[in-house]
Symmetry: C2
Subunit: 320 residues, 2 copies
């Protein structure tokens, strides 16, 4: 199956399962908790969970799928809390939970999803010891995600963030949940320790590359295409891998923060291209993807193994 | 052993275990997460966990104790998030996490504790299936606690809260975590389903009574003794069981919200006593305690069974 078809099919399946589990909210708080979860999204983490399960044990994913929702629910919990911290008004084209219900309810709505995430793992039809390991792994990952978000916020007050600090931050903020999605999928499906580790690393690396690609899209893609404000990272002085690589090459992006119209952006991109900054950042993302795919070479040959390679490249080939 | 000695000993043990687990925080976020957790507290939930474990399987609690910390950690997570919502500046005589570090870090600090709570259950030396059931139970309880906090906040805009709504709210906000502490203790120690259920109900009822006692302390105890602002619930127009019972008897506490000095408070208490309100509320708390103790009569006779009865009465005999 083509990756695009696979992702579309999985998203439909996830939406239908979410409807079965939470489609009939009984309280105001449940409705707030459902708001973002039912607002779509690519459902990439459950897709990764499914591929990993079927890659180590063909056909196993259906049996353990409730746990696959857990990763999507975890992701949505972090988004609700992040939106409060970042004071973001919109997400997936809808008003954010705290904008609609206020901060107290939004904090609680995130907390409700957090609980559901752990509950969903327990509902999988899988060996009990695997479920306990999955819960441990998800817990460690949630702690890492919080650390990543905290690092990201602390970077706002700094102009000297290093490459290693940046990569550690994006790995925690974005990578580990992809890693855990793949690891838990393979774990509950009966994968070996080596397979589970390989999947965890695959997810961490592709997730970090995904975030680097996000930085590239912010600078390179027009607002029409990306749906976001072009070059907003530059204007906000964000410590992205682009800014860090530029600084390493003696380029100060500070003066570019003001008056960045379309022509300015074009000049900035041209200048960064001349200095090899964009290329270097793209190479870093590609190296992460290459290494992620290398790591899962230990898997038997299955259609899912090919999908996993396609998914990894998709993470950095997308332009939105 | 006397209850007081038992609680003191358990608090020391909990503090020492917390020190072993989290005493060496590596990041700013970990320090924020530790702040309230290391600020003392009675550690009643781990004590209840221990009693329940040893009541069904003497001597078993030491083996599964990491999971006992889980309930204390969960409690602290909810306090950090509640303090943000309620804009409280002090807790346990210390500045609250959001006052010291700001709201974004406080949200994350609570989220870190939330993750640790689930991780701690997995670390217990207990059968894997019991740990999975314990994780499920904790997850359901966390969702209930959020609902309870949401109900509590929504009551602020209402003056017609019923007795049943109030009891449902305090059971969710306070009772279920006591219930889960006792249930998980007995579950991981190998208790039967009937024992686990009895413990859950015991905790829900004693926890609800604890909250009713809190309402009584707010009105009846001087600020010197309770460390809290006397009659603040009345001034804030809170829907406590006192206010609800008064309303049921045709007494409107509205006019008492203003100008409540020491003499006013004394007159109010005298009036409520004359109308049997205080007595009726005390009876409601006592009935809950009696029913909680009845429920655990199925347990074998052990020192812990006696301690559990003492603890239940302690919940409504304390004056702070």
């Amino acid at each position: 199956m083509e990756l695009e078809t696979y992702l579309k099919k999985t998203a439909d399946e996830v939406n239908s399962l979410l409807q079965d589990c939470y489609g009939d909210p009984k309280t105001a708080l449940s409705r707030a908790a459902n708001h973002l979860l039912f607002a779509g999204g690519k459902r990439l983490r459950p897709a990764l969970f499914k591929m990993a399960a079927d890659a180590v044990n063909p056909g196993s994913s259906a049996r353990i799928m409730p746990a696959g929702l857990s990763l999507e629910v975890t992701h949505n919990f972090t988004l609700i809390h992040d939106d409060i911290m970042d004071k973001d008004e919109y997400r997936r084209g809808k008003k954010t939970v705290h904008t609609l219900w206020g901060e107290p309810v939004a904090i609680l709505a995130g907390d409700v999803l957090y609980a559901r995430a752990f509950h969903l793992i327990c509902k999988a039809d899988a060996p009990e010891d695997a479920k306990v390991r999955a819960v441990s792994l998800l817990a460690r990952t949630c702690e890492d995600i919080c650390e990543g978000q905290q690092q990201d916020m602390s970077f706002e007050d700094r102009e000297d963030v290093t490459r290693d600090e940046y990569l550690d931050m994006v790995t925690k903020k974005t990578g580990v949940l992809y890693g855990t999605a793949a690891a838990i999928g393979s774990l509950l499906a009966g994968g070996s320790d080596a397979q589970v580790d390989a999947f965890y690393n695959y997810g961490c690396k592709t997730g970090a590359a995904f975030q680097i690609q996000d930085d590239l899209i912010d600078l390179l893609e027009s607002s029409d295409k990306s749906g976001k404000d072009q070059a907003s990272d530059i204007r906000e002085g964000k410590q992205t891998l682009i800014a860090i690589t530029a600084r390493e090459r003696g380029i100060n992006l500070g003066p570019w923060r003001r008056l960045l119209d379309k022509e300015d952006i074009a000049s900035l991109i041209a200048m960064l291209n001349e200095n090899g900054v964009i290329h270097a950042v793209q190479q870093e993302a590609e190296a992460l993807i290459g290494s992620a795919i290398d790591g899962i070479s230990i898997l038997p040959e299955t259609p899912e193994k090919r999908l996993l390679a396609d998914l990894a490249w998709f993470f950095i080939k997308r332009d939105y």
